[in-house]
């Protein structure tokens, strides 16, 4: 499946692996924070609707 990379196999594979890993981590962190913030915001909005003027 992996094409014959000759003597530079290690270099090419590690370059792809590290880059894809970094990109994946960035995407995952962005998505994770997006989800957390969205959830918190929804909760806060719900609370704000529930008790609009308690004071």
């Amino acid at each position: 499946m992996i094409p014959d990379l000759g003597k530079y196999q290690g270099a090419v594979l590690s370059a792809y692996a590290i880059s894809l890993l970094l990109i994946t981590v960035t995407v995952a962190l962005s998505l994770w924070r997006a989800r957390v913030v969205k959830q918190q915001l929804n909760d806060a909005e719900a609370r704000a609707k529930q008790a609009p003027d308690t004071h």
Partner: protein, 244 residues
């Protein structure tokens, strides 16, 4: 209708909500095509062997590392002049992505340089200016996180971005001078192996470049949406605290 209507966060959120899935699909498709084509279906360069395949990561990420800074420069200027919050948040959202792109460019360059130049790192003008760009990203992000008042943070980072751009440009040309003075003629990059040859290498590279650009846009939009929500959340929490 002008671009300024997207300065309204609600409008921005509404537009990006339906835009994001399409852009994401397109980004995944083009990054995937570019990299898979580049990795599996390109021949080896006769001089560089299979290391030429690294170019499909290295060139697009380096391109986006610089473009991200340019984009931050433009959005910082818009924030300073017209004070649209979305603009400041776009700059904030772009910085970490740009940092990662710079890192990828540096790492893949080093991995390529080891078999080709015989060293992971040389104080070559281009490499050095990328390292400096990396430092600028770090300082920019650190300043965003250090300042508590959001508007002040946006102001200060914008000024830093402007001043930093001038100095980054200055460093870019200063390093040229320094390297020639230090070791003339050694380790001049011969990184033209992929670009000067035929379409076999060039077409997947173009696709990959477009893909990285789309990926950057998607990530920035996604992160900006998060930042806008975070702002709204802070406002709500502050109101709750004030009420209780």
């Amino acid at each position: 209708m002008s671009i300024w209507k997207y300065a309204n966060p609600t409008q921005f959120m509404r537009t990006t909500r339906w835009l994001l899935p399409w852009l994401s699909a397109l980004a995944i498709l083009s990054v995937g095509t570019g990299l898979i084509w580049g990795f599996f279906f390109t021949p080896d360069d006769f001089r560089q062997g299979s290391t030429v395949k690294i170019i499909y990561l290295h060139v697009p990420s380096a391109l986006m590392a610089i473009n991200a800074w340019l984009m931050m420069l433009v959005t910082s200027l818009i924030w300073l002049i017209r004070r649209h919050h979305v603009s400041a948040l776009l700059a904030r959202a772009a910085a970490p992505v740009g940092l990662v792109m710079t890192l990828i460019a540096l790492i893949t360059g080093g991995i390529w340089g080891q078999p080709m130049w015989g060293t992971y790192w040389a104080w070559d003008p281009r490499l050095t200016s990328f390292l400096i760009l990396f430092l600028f990203y770090l300082g920019y992000i650190a300043l965003w996180q250090a300042v508590e008042t959001q508007d002040t943070a946006a102001d200060l980072t914008s000024v830093l971005c402007l001043v930093g751009s001038v100095f980054a440009l200055l460093s870019r040309y200063a390093v040229n001078f320094w390297n020639q003075g230090l070791h003339q003629g050694t380790s001049v990059p011969v990184a033209t192996g992929g670009r000067t040859v035929s379409d076999v290498f060039f077409v997947p590279l173009l696709i990959s470049m477009a893909g990285f650009g789309l990926m950057f846009v998607v990530l920035v939009l996604l992160r900006t949406r998060t930042e806008i929500r975070a702002r709204r959340l802070q406002a709500l929490l502050a109101r709750e605290r004030a009420a209780s």
